[in-house]
Amino acid sequence: MTYHILVVDDEPDICELLGIFLSMNDGIEVHTAENGKIAVEMYLNLAGSGSRPDIVLMDIRMPVMDGIEATREILEHDPDANVYMVTAYNEPNLVQDAMDAGAKDVINKTAGFPEISEMVMGVLGA
């Protein structure tokens, strides 16, 4: 089977690199979005076409719509959505906002892409 992962970050390099490291694992299909608004649309489109993302890796600070708001909207449409925040910001109130919005957990961006990729595979149980 194929796991769909939606990577949301306004830095194209981050999207690309995270995508590359995740794709090194078998059965992974990565989709990327550059802000929260596009992410919400993409999530709904994927879900509508039978490729509902198994995990969303969401940056917090982004233009147009931030990760907290996007998480809230995705959860509104799909209460079972698995959204993980990936952020360099370790302020407690941001973490709290993310959790309140319905994020499953917060992943520290400084961990490195191979490590983040490994964590995601662990969550997927793949």
Binding site: D13, I14, L17, I20, A88, P92, V95, T110, G112, F113
Partner: protein, 230 residues
Amino acid sequence: MDNILIVDDDPGVRETLEARLAREGYAVGTADGFDQAKDALEERDFDAILLDIVLPGVNGIGILEYIKNADIEAPVIMITGDPSVDTASNSVRHGAYDYVSKPIRKEHLLDVVRRAVEKKGLIDRKKELEKRNVEYQKELERKVEERTEELKSAYELLGEEYSRKVRFMRKTSHEFINPLSIISGHLTLLMKDDLPDEQRRRLESVSENVKRIEQLVQDALEMTSEGGNK
């Protein structure tokens, strides 16, 4: 010039005393009883008061009481008609400084007046010192308050400056994280390839140095954390 007030209802006594004291260089004022004495005392500050004990109307003891109640500090020398110890001690009990008995001997008069004036001088000096002491105390308190205020605002300014710098450092440190992650990611990918030794050695060096910067950024973030960070 020292001021002396003579209070006596007998014009002869007044004139004699006034003449004697004026010759010694005193400025002399006279009064024939309570009303005039009251006016004179309100008008200026005397250094000594010669006060007849027997007066029509308000007598010497009555005037003495008035003087003491009005907080007039000029020493009062009572003039007694007879050297009765009882009258003298009575006036001393009411706050008289000393007394002279009629007939008044010139030397005795001048001696008593001189001592009374000296005493007034001491009283004035003491009051002046007390006044200065209070002023000094107030000045000191004012200065302490002023310095405390200065210190307080300097401290607040420092605090603001410090927070501003900490916030700047934290923000800057955060800004390093994305570029460092991207560099690290690219490096990791590059080093997966088969590379000539020379290139691998150089990339490893880049990688080591990126790790050092990452550590610095982590330290800076920790140092500037706002407490309770996960």
